[in-house]
Symmetry: C2
Subunit: 81 residues, 2 copies
Amino acid sequence: PDWEILSVSGEEQLRRVFKFRNFAQALAFTNKVGELAEAENHHPAILLEYGKATISWWTHAIGGLHKNDFIMAARTDSAYH
Amino acid sequence: PDWEILSVSGEEQLRRVFKFRNFAQALAFTNKVGELAEAENHHPAILLEYGKATISWWTHAIGGLHKNDFIMAARTDSAYH
């Protein structure tokens, strides 16, 4: 429910902001999501800031969203909890 | 020379794009910059993407750039080389 679908340069993306208490925790989450990404060879954009990581999933090859992006979004949620 | 100064929501920021061969290398660099940030308790925004990390330094408390941001930019360059 916390994922938004937005259009970036004409491509739909799934995006969610995850909140943390500090930079270190946001960086730790970035690494967790990085592991998921490497495992599937499918990579998000991650905007890492103090207390926050914004994750965006989309499939550049098809210029938008594929079922796999929704699966990765669900896995990202699991990594957060 | 590769850092740009841009205005984001009325605040000047130093920004540079660092290129890598893949996601894992960009993530490793993100962690290096994260260590620098934690050591100084001064935190950038990092946009991590496949093969690329975009680092932005600024000082929110003063709404723009402080000498320290330029020092952190130089340290970021050193971490890249």
